[in-house]
Amino acid sequence: MKRITEFITAHPYDLPVRISHWVMAFSISVLMITGYLIGNPPFSQPGDASDIFLMGTIRYLHFVAAYFLTAAFLLRLYWGFVGSRESRWSEMLRWDGRFWKHALDEILALVWPVRPWRLYFGHFPIAKIAYVFVYLAVAFSILSGFVIYASAQYSPLWRFVAEWGLKPFGDNLNWVRYLHHWLLWFFAVFVVIHVYLVVYMAVRMMTSEVEAMLGGYKIIRREDLAEGEEVESVA
């Protein structure tokens, strides 16, 4: 006997969330590559310095990408207070008993793949935990990055940022640079895990979060939903 499979079309991610996600994804990629090159320039070429602006160009790209990241982060931050259910910080940080049960289910399904892998309306439980740390890391990279940036700017406003922004770091600019440098590896490790789990889910469950993050919609089989997860179908 064939069973009837019910499909739900969910719309978890608003346009601002999608925009901020892809702007962040692209700008963090640029920032990681240029940041690594600024920290460890692998080149040194002969020639007249007046003809070449390689390091300057890399730094320029880093700063431009940093402004994009800041804009996307501020958009996301704001949208977390006014946006749809799934984009709210209150939802993101709702770590109650059911949440932890779902998180445990997800870990067990990863450790022992015979167990069922459950789907959710929006973010996965472990992803929610990870994203909170990612947003903290983005916030810290923006703050520390602008303190370093301000140290080379000489308008009164930037001087204010450079002088007082340094206080939380013990008035030590090299220490800011050191911590800022570490973020590269945090994001590198995160990107690997993040992309892996997205691909993993797409292969295992035949539905993709990438679609949801691109177009906003994802199609879920009702029987795959986690216990107690409510989804409003839009189609």
Partner: protein, 385 residues
């Protein structure tokens, strides 16, 4: 002028007529350093002359946990030569290294000065101040550094902390800081403290702080770390003559390579210029002769807080990360972490594939054994195989 001459002059305390040309050279230098226009030069000259004529500001120079390197630096102030500075522009009434008096006579002189010039003394402090065990790790004439400072504090107009030790604790404060050394700003609460960090501090900056007071009758504008803005407003990297090579991406990779001969940027051999505020690149040392980066050595960041701990290693520009057995570089640890993550997800993908194949294989076997509907379509993932 040699130090012996200085001492002789101090002993005689004779006030000499300054060489006019040298005097204006000095005034010009100070105008440049303080960021004033050319028209300020006569004003500086008049103010300094006036100060020299009637009531020069009294200066007391105290040495605590130091190497006297800032005194060395001060005696190399380019223009005016140190003798002129001591005798004409400011009255250096007490300086343990330079003064002729010694022992009880010196301490008496200090007491006299405190009484005579109370409220208008600029106290220059060199060296960190130990606080552990009641500060017994630095005593002068049987009194600790803290006691001496507390005694002088009510009589002082302002304090100038010269050198990184006096300003931020410097090398005595370096980990593990056995004497509990701190910078002057942690001791002096009721009077302004001006930090002139550097190892040693630039002599012309020390002079300019004093001249600023003589000229405007107030102390120079300070930044959030109490450093005079005229000298510590810009980073070395942003005033460096090698900067175009940085922007071009031309680096010295080792101290004997082609780039080193060409004068390329010292970033990759650990230059801390990008994170160090000081005046070196613009103001240089030893009669404008040179400064570290010009002579091919990376900046150590000596004028920055905790440079001995946080700006180390000197020949790599990112600090080491402790706690990994050996002092590893952030990038090495990061690459290993990234590699391990890659291996983990790869292994997990493989593992899942194997388990899932086995599951499907078992399902097939089961369905064959049952001889039922054949294909088990849409089977629940959670169903037992």
């Amino acid at each position: 002028m040699s130090a012996i001459d200085v001492l002789e002059k101090l002993e005689e305390r004779e006030i000499e007529e300054l060489n006019r040309r040298e005097f204006f050279k000095f005034c010009g230098r100070m105008a440049v350093l303080l960021g004033l226009s050319q028209t300020a030069i006569p004003r500086i000259a008049r103010a300094v002359e006036k100060a020299a004529r009637d009531g020069r500001p009294s200066v007391i120079w105290l040495n605590f946990q130091d190497c006297a390197g800032n005194t060395e630096s001060f005696t190399r102030a380019t223009a005016p030569s140190v003798g002129e500075a001591l005798l004409d522009h400011v009255s250096l009434d007490y300086h343990e290294v330079l003064m002729a008096a010694a022992g009880h006579r010196a301490e008496e002189r200090l007491k006299e000065v405190l009484k005579e010039y109370s409220g208008q003394i600029i106290v220059v402090v060199e060296g960190a101040i130990p606080t552990k065990d009641d500060g017994i790790y630095c005593t002068v004439a049987g009194r600790t550094a803290i006691q001496i400072l507390k005694e002088i504090e009510p009589h002082a107009l302002a304090f100038v902390a010269v050198g990184t030790c006096a300003a931020f604790g410097g090398i005595p404060k370096a980990n593990p800081n056995p004497t509990g050394a701190v910078g002057l700003e942690r001791i002096i609460r009721s009077k302004p403290v001006i930090n002139v960090p550097g190892c040693p501090a630039n002599p012309d900056v020390i002079m300019a702080v004093l001249v600023h007071y003589v000229l405007f009758n107030r102390l120079p504008e300070l930044d959030a770390q109490r450093r005079p803005k005229f000298a510590f407003g810009k980073k070395i990297h942003d005033t460096c003559e090698r900067r175009p090579h940085y922007d071009a991406g031309q680096f010295v990779l080792s101290f004997d390579d082609y780039g080193a001969k060409q004068g390329y940027c010292l970033y990759k051999v650990g230059c801390k210029g990008p994170v160090t505020y000081n005046v070196c690149a613009a103001w240089r040392w030893n009669m404008d002769a040179s400064w570290p980066v010009k002579s091919g050595h990376p900046c150590l960041g000596c004028s920055e807080r905790d440079f001995w701990d946080r700006y180390y290693p000197f020949y790599e520009h990112i600090p080491k990360t402790g706690g990994f057995g050996v002092e590893a570089r952030a990038d090495d640890i990061g690459k290993v972490a990234l590699g391990l993550t890659g291996l983990t997800v790869g292994a997990h993908a493989l593992y899942t594939a194997v388990v899932k194949s086995a599951e499907r294989f078992a399902e097939k076997l089961a369905s064959k054994a049952e001889e039922g509907t054949g294909e088990s379509e849409g089977k629940d993932e959670g169903g037992e195989a």
